[in-house]
């Protein structure tokens, strides 16, 4: 049985201009120990889907799904009290801006021990040693000296580590990381990603990594889900996706990266992601797709071999050179 099973999740927001469909029929299936990346640009609904799972969306959101279960528990029909027992303990989430995700009024020890006390009972102060253990685990040097530090005294990388410590305190089965390194310097980013993967291996936890950075995905994840304008367009193992993207959006996204530029100009994708008021008829990507045909402009596509496209790109045969030699693959 899969650890996390989401089928056809849809999230609508009530706004000043009418209803906004932020997430449209997204499905995700996760086993323990998996690392899945959800990739998309702004407006793709990648964060919203996971926030819906955690129950962190505002009252203006309407969540519908065929199935949304975690570890056998049905999250859709669960009472809020039961849900709170799971969120933070078995499912945890870390956010993008570490500097603002920690409560500025309380020191590090307070915040981490609060999580422990909330889920395991007992007095907050009795968890001091566990807190030091956790800080060590996330790679903070001399953790005893950091216990009384306040968030504004920590650097970005340090804050993110504290955040991670807080979130793995209860040894969750699933950790959702929402753009955990976007706000950090590149060397710190590398450290944090390594830390996440290491923790994931030692604790056997499943990791969902939400990001817009394809490069991070390539180096960290096992499987990738690509989202566009709230819809899930592709869901495949990482190496397959990078060598052989089958949805035109994925292909365009990969070729727009500067490292894949072959001429003087980058292969930009013309147009913009549709907003609330200008959703195209038919396939949402059709105005920007170089392969678009009449059918694409008229009818929304169904999942076609797992790809949300009327005409998924063909499967390419594997190139003869072995991948393990460290050769770079050029997407053409």
């Amino acid at each position: 049985m899969a650890l996390l099973e989401i089928t056809n999740l849809t999230v609508d927001f009530a706004t000043a201009h009418g209803s906004l469909r932020a997430v449209d029929q997204v499905s995700l299936s996760l086993d323990a120990g998996d690392i899945v990346a959800i990739v998309g640009e702004s407006g793709s609904g990648k964060s919203v889907a996971m926030l819906a799972l955690m129950g962190l969306l505002p009252w203006t959101a309407t969540i519908t799904a065929d199935q949304m279960s975690f570890d056998g528990n049905d999250l859709l029909t669960m009472a809020p009290k039961q849900r709170r027992a799971i969120i933070g303990k078995d499912i945890s989430m870390i956010f993008q801006e570490p500097m603002t995700s920690l409560n500025p009024c309380f020191n590090v020890e307070y915040q981490i021990s609060e999580v422990l006390a909330r889920h395991f009972g007992g007095r907050r102060r009795s968890y001091k040693h566990r807190v030091i253990e956790l800080l060590e685990k996330v790679g903070i040097p001399a953790p005893e000296t950091r216990l009384k530090a306040y968030p504004h005294q920590l650097s970005g990388g340090m804050s993110q580590r504290v955040m991670i410590a807080m979130m793995i305190a209860c040894e969750p089965k699933l950790l959702v990381a929402d753009e955990p390194t976007t706000a950090l310097d590149v060397t710190i980013q590398a450290q944090i990603l390594e830390l996440l993967v290491e923790l994931q291996k030692t604790n056997g936890m499943a990791l969902v990594l939400i990001t817009h950075d394809m490069a991070v995905v390539a180096e960290t994840a096992d499987r990738v889900v690509v989202q566009y304008a709230g819809q899930q367009v592709e869901n495949r193992p990482v190496s397959e996706l990078f060598n052989n993207p089958r949805h035109p959006y994925t292909e365009a996204l990969l070729s727009a990266l500067p490292e894949h530029a072959q001429e003087k100009t980058l292969n930009a994708i013309p147009g913009v992601v549709p907003g609330q008021l200008d959703r195209p008829v038919g396939c949402l990507f059709n105005p920007r797709c170089e392969y678009a045909q009449d059918l694409c402009r008229q009818q929304p596509p169904q999942k076609n071999e797992g790809i949300l496209c009327h005409f998924p790109l063909p499967i390419k045969p594997l190139p003869p050179k072995a991948i393990s030699q460290g050769e770079t693959q050029v997407i053409s």
Partner: protein, 322 residues
């Protein structure tokens, strides 16, 4: 044909005094310690580094928002140290302009786009209303926006469009140099590509010189002619982009390149693990600023601060590179 360099920077320093209390002496924040470079028309200099490396300070010095504590800065042949600051600044405003990082914060939320773009013309030129409007519309079209957009407010645009407006604003005074402070970092990949293409087109068409500040090495590699790598306010490596990226000499540059993820599966990088955090700029390490985190550090690195030495196409500040 020798054209003079549009920017000649020699040993620029910027220190900020920090008050640490009524009775203690002021501490000194060394934001920038010794940047030097030449930039010609049509070229792009990329300034690369992580937070606290001094790249934003450099941007502020170049655009004359602040004055250097020491060093010499010559823009388009005019030495900023010589003449009276205000007059010089007014003249040079039309030579150097800036595009900021945050497309959501760099446009006044309460001004219509048309007014935002007209503002530099109102302040610096004598054009009448019609001429101003013409120029604004001309630039709007050039960056790919429509005429009627001048009536809209910034929040009605997407991030990419706002950045285009910011670029239009930077170009409205017909500058020769544009400082771009992380112009595409906050944008999605597909929009990044559009904006970068626009910047390249404009550079070719108008012969602009760009100072491109970024932490994203893949973008820098694509767009830069020269690269200046900075760490904790000091330049550590400098040279032609090709040379620096293909054969980085300084350990920090090497670490930076190896830490940058690449969109290729199956690549087994030789990861240079950079341990520790960035030291505080208020109390930089003795000797070489990088030595606490450097894998190759030797005893002398703690004592002697290295200086930039030329090695072929690159200049490096490292005691171990000889």
């Amino acid at each position: 044909m020798t054209q003079h360099a549009l920017i000649q920077a020699r040993d620029l320093h910027k220190y900020y005094p920090i008050k640490t209390g009524m009775f203690k002496p002021n501490q000194c924040l060394q934001a920038l310690s010794g940047a030097s470079f030449d930039l010609y028309a049509g070229q792009t200099l990329a300034v690369v580094g992580e937070s606290g490396c001094g790249k934003s300070t450099l941007a502020r010095l170049l655009t004359m928002i602040e004055q250097p504590t020491a060093g010499q800065l010559t823009l388009d042949g005019i030495d900023l140290g010589d003449a009276h600051q205000k007059e010089v600044a007014k003249k040079l405003r039309q030579t150097i302009q800036m595009v900021f990082q945050d497309p959501f914060g760099s446009l006044n939320p309460r001004q219509k786009v048309g007014d935002i773009l007209q503002e530099p013309l109102l302040i610096n030129t004598d054009l009448n209303a019609n001429q101003r409007r013409e120029r604004v519309l001309e630039l709007m079209q050039r960056v790919g926006l429509r005429d009627e957009h001048i009536h809209r407010y910034p929040h009605m645009f997407s991030g990419g469009q706002r950045q285009r407006i910011a670029i239009a604003r930077a170009l409205i005074l017909k500058p020769k140099i544009v400082v771009l402070d992380e112009p595409v970092s906050a944008l999605d990949v597909s929009i990044q590509a559009q904006v970068i293409n626009l910047l390249i087109e404009l550079q070719q068409e108008l012969g602009l010189a760009y100072v491109f500040i970024s932490h994203d090495l893949s973008v820098v590699r694509y767009i830069a002619d020269q690269v200046l790598v900075m760490y904790l306010g000091k330049p550590v490596e400098q040279g032609l982009s090709e040379a620096v990226f293909n054969n980085p000499q300084h350990p920090y540059t090497q670490a930076l390149l190896s830490a940058t993820p690449q969109a290729n599966t199956g690549r087994k990088r030789k990861r240079i693990r950079l341990t520790g955090e960035l030291p505080s700029p208020l109390s930089p390490p003795t000797g070489c600023s990088f030595h606490p985190r450097c894998q190759n550090a030797k005893a002398q690195c703690k004592i002697t601060a290295p200086v930039m030495k030329q090695h072929g196409d690159i200049s490096v500040a490292c005691l171990l590179v000889e």
